[in-house]
């Protein structure tokens, strides 16, 4: 289990527990459940890389305690 912090720097900052083999889409759904935004409106970024929905977190090398930028589209 890993815990990831997502921050949109506009007032929403969520810590989400998930598995490393979850996809980014799954993570988005979890975030959506916690924040109350639609999951398909969420964009996750690290610097300039936008994470794609169908790829596992471990493949993006997202580890425990990492910060991911949260954007909306």
């Amino acid at each position: 289990m890993i815990e990831i912090t997502c921050n949109d720097r506009l007032g929403k900052k969520v810590r989400v527990k998930c598995n490393p083999d979850d996809t980014v889409g799954d993570l988005k759904k979890l975030i959506a459940a916690q924040t109350g935004t639609k999951w398909d409106k969420i964009v996750l970024k690290k610097w300039y890389t936008t994470f794609k929905d169908h790829i596992q977190l471990q493949d993006y090398e997202i580890h425990d305690g990492m910060n991911i930028e949260l954007y909306y589209q």
């Binding site: 289990m1 007032g11 900052k13 527990k17 979890l30 459940a33 916690q34």
Partner: protein, 752 residues
């Protein structure tokens, strides 16, 4: 917004559990009430906010409904979430594991692997295997170095213990000193000795028994014989007699054993065996090396005699230092028992000493008698003294003309010329024609004759006569002036002719004589005589020239008349022409007067020609003086030695006429360009190419042709031809025949 609302929730929920005291350091009762008041206010505020908060949750519910996802109640999880948040103590929202699991279940994901990390790691350790990325292969786990080190350590300790045990067991067998003492008894020792003695006795007995047996069978004699034979066959000093030892006898110390071995020789060498000692050979080698290292100086500057150890002078051969290399090393050797080398050497020394004594020179102490040195040679010395031989030069017996020489010739001449009237003075001083040329009145001709070729002389005389006419005219005035003198000493005024001079002068005429084929001298003589006759007959006529190069004679009787007649006519306006025949000087004079030769003055370059125009007192020194004077008014520069720029006062008038001329191999004078080329070719040793040479030759030939070409005529000589034609036709014009002329005439006619 959400977060802030949630924090409010937290406070709201936490209030019952927490005491106010815990929140604030040490609050009193009043404080507590005041806080309560505040809290109430808060509550109110919160309620408003709660209402506001309901909306988004409702909205979210709607969203979830739209997405066909189960509706998640936000209210319930929030309670649990608070605990988690409190435990983490972070500002961010975070659900607990259980909460998240529930959520995940709703979304359709597998539950979180809570504590899975520990479980997975432990499991991995148990397996000792690791799956690779693709999950296909299991990898062997890496060795644990710490475990290995521990294992090794334990093993080492075990091995040590084992060894110790073994050593202990080994040492346990050995008896210590005390123990052994206790074992060895005196009685034991005695027993042992007795045993050994007994064994010896038994062995002796057995040997005796065997000998007795041998004696019985006669074996002993056979053995003795064999031993004798062996002794006879043995190699003894008798066999060594005559063997050569390759060392000096003296090197063997007396009463000392030396082991000699056979020297190595080639298998096919048919030489005697030679004995050597290896150690002595080494010693010799070492000595030789030491000698070589000493670096003897080969050069013996004063040719000092060298002496060997006995004081006998060594005989020296040429380049003795190479003898060893050429002839091979000399080795002292002797034969065992045959020649006693030591004795021989002693004898040689004695002999040499004797010789030396015999050779000895006795020098006397008495010095040589001193004598007074004299400046002059005494008679003996004079006899010894050789004068340097004078080179006797052979003077060529050139016919120097003397009166005696001439006498017989004169007779001949008198006979031939039939001029008997003229007496010839025998006492007349002999004057060569070179010294006083043509001074005398040529009343008669006297010949100096070489006996060898009087015939030739006659022929020469023939040609001489022709030329003489000119001489006569030319010399009239001179002759008149000197008449008195000549009459004194030379009454007849003979012309003296030098044979060689005459020969050279008339060289041009002779070829005709040879070529004509009239070589017969007699005939010539006759001719000569005839001509003489003819001349005499035609006396009144002015000497007619029969042949230009032939001989003519002058009748001296008519001379007076001739002179009288000729004198007024021939005295020229111009100066008299110098006689070319008289010599080189005259010839040059003539050439000069005629302008064939330039005067030397004219030939000088402008420097000397215009020397009189140059400044009289100008010198190079003046230049430097002006400068120096400006600098130093003292004028010290004058006295100073001014070096090579000083004028030569004594050579003031010397104006050298320097003219550098370069002449090539053919004698042509080269201009500067050509000269440079010539010198350059010579210097570099490399001539011009074939083409260049050809070109140059062609050019020079052309130049020659240009010079030869006459300036008055065309190269084909048309002018000459024209003139000849004109002479032939005796008309001032030449008719050019041809059709063209007719046309021209026609045209001219039409014009008219």
């Amino acid at each position: 917004m959400g977060s802030s609302s949630k924090s409010k929730y937290k406070e709201k929920e936490s209030t019952p559990s927490r005491s106010s005291k815990r929140r604030h350091g040490s609050p009193g009762a009043d404080d507590y009430d005041a806080h309560r008041e505040k809290r109430h206010r808060h509550h109110k505020h919160r309620h408003n906010k709660d209402r506001k908060l309901e909306r988004p949750s409702e909205r979210s519910r709607q969203v979830y409904e739209d997405n066909d996802v189960e509706v998640i109640s936000v209210e319930n999880p929030s309670n649990q979430k608070i605990n988690a948040a409190e435990s983490s103590g972070q500002g961010a929202d975070s659900l607990s594991i259980a909460e998240t699991n529930r959520l995940r279940a709703k979304i359709g994901l597998k539950p979180l692997e809570v504590g899975g990390s520990d479980a997975s790691t432990s499991g991995k350790k148990d397996d000792g295997k690791k799956k690779d990325d693709l999950g296909e292969f299991y990898h062997k786990p890496a060795e644990n170095w710490a475990d290995k080190a521990q294992r090794d350590k334990i093993r080492n300790r075990l091995a040590e213990h084992k060894e110790k045990r073994q050593l202990h067991s080994k040492l346990a067998k050995v008896k210590t000193l005390g123990e052994s003492d206790s074992d060895d008894d005196v009685s034991n020792w005695v027993d042992r000795n007795r045993n050994s003695e007994k064994a010896k006795m038994e062995a002796d007995k057995r040997a005796k028994m065997l000998e007795e047996l041998d004696a019985q069978f006669g074996i002993g004699e056979v053995i003795e014989q064999e031993q004798k034979q062996r002794r006879n066959q043995q190699y003894t000093y008798k066999d060594l007699r005559g063997l050569r030892v390759d060392h000096d006898v003296d090197t063997f110390a007396e009463e000392k054993q030396v082991i000699l071995t056979l020297k190595d020789t080639g298998v096919l060498d048919d030489e005697d065996d030679v004995l050597v000692n290896v150690n002595m050979i080494d010693n010799e080698k070492y000595k030789k090396n030491v000698e070589n290292k000493k670096k003897k100086v080969l050069y013996n500057a004063y040719e000092d005699q060298e002496y060997d150890e006995y004081g006998i002078p060594k005989e020296k051969s040429l380049l003795a230092q190479y003898d060893e290399e050429i002839d091979g090393e000399k080795r002292e050797s002797f034969r065992i028992g045959i020649d006693n080398a030591a004795l021989r050497r002693k004898a040689a020394v004695v002999q040499s000493v004797k010789e030396k004594l015999a050779k000895k020179k006795l020098e006397s102490i008495a010095e040589k008698q001193l004598t007074l040195a004299s400046e002059y040679y005494n008679e003996e010395e004079l006899a010894k003294f050789k004068k340097p031989k004078k080179k006797t030069r052979r003077i060529r017996a050139k016919g120097k003309l003397t009166a005696e020489n001439l006498l017989p010739a004169r007779k001949v001449e008198e006979i031939g010329s039939r001029r008997n009237k003229f007496k010839v003075d025998g006492d007349e001083p002999d004057i060569s024609i070179d010294d006083v040329p043509d001074v005398e009145m040529p009343t008669s001709i006297k010949f100096e004759e070489d006996d060898k070729d009087d015939l030739l002389e006659k022929a020469l005389h023939k040609s001489r006569k022709v030329k003489q006419r000119e001489n006569i005219i030319a010399n009239i005035i001179k002759a008149e002036v000197k008449e008195e003198q000549s009459s004194e000493e030379n009454v007849d005024g003979n012309i003296i002719l030098n044979s060689t001079a005459e020969f050279c002068r008339t060289l041009g005429d002779i070829p005709t004589y040879g070529r004509a084929g009239n070589r017969d001298e007699d005939e010539d003589l006759i001719d000569f005589d005839k001509e003489a006759f003819n001349d005499e007959k035609s006396d009144d006529d002015d000497c007619e020239i029969v042949e230009l190069s032939g001989w003519n004679s002058v009748d001296p009787r008519n001379e007076g008349l001739d002179l009288a007649r000729l004198a007024p006519q021939e005295v020229q306006i111009l100066d008299e022409e110098p006689d070319v025949s008289t010599g080189m000087g005259a010839a040059l004079k003539l050439a000069m007067s005629k302008g064939y030769l330039d005067k030397e003055d004219n030939n000088r370059p402008s420097n000397s020609r215009f020397a009189h125009l140059q400044a009289q007192h100008y010198s190079i020194e003046d230049k430097s003086y002006g400068e120096e004077g400006n600098e130093r008014p003292g004028g010290r520069g004058r006295e100073r030695y001014s070096g090579p720029i000083q004028d030569f006062k004594e050579k003031d008038s010397f104006k050298p006429n320097v003219k550098l001329e370069y002449i090539d191999d053919d004698g042509h004078i080269l201009n500067s360009k050509e000269a440079f080329r010539y010198l350059s070719h010579k210097f570099h040793g490399k001539g011009p190419g074939k083409n260049k040479v050809e070109k140059r030759i062609k050019k020079s030939v052309q130049e020659q042709l240009m010079k030869k070409m006459s300036s008055t005529d065309t190269p084909l000589g048309t002018l000459n031809m024209l003139q000849a034609k004109q002479k032939e036709t005796q008309s001032p014009f030449v008719v050019l025949s041809g059709s063209k002329q007719q046309q021209q005439t026609a045209i001219s006619k039409s014009r008219r």
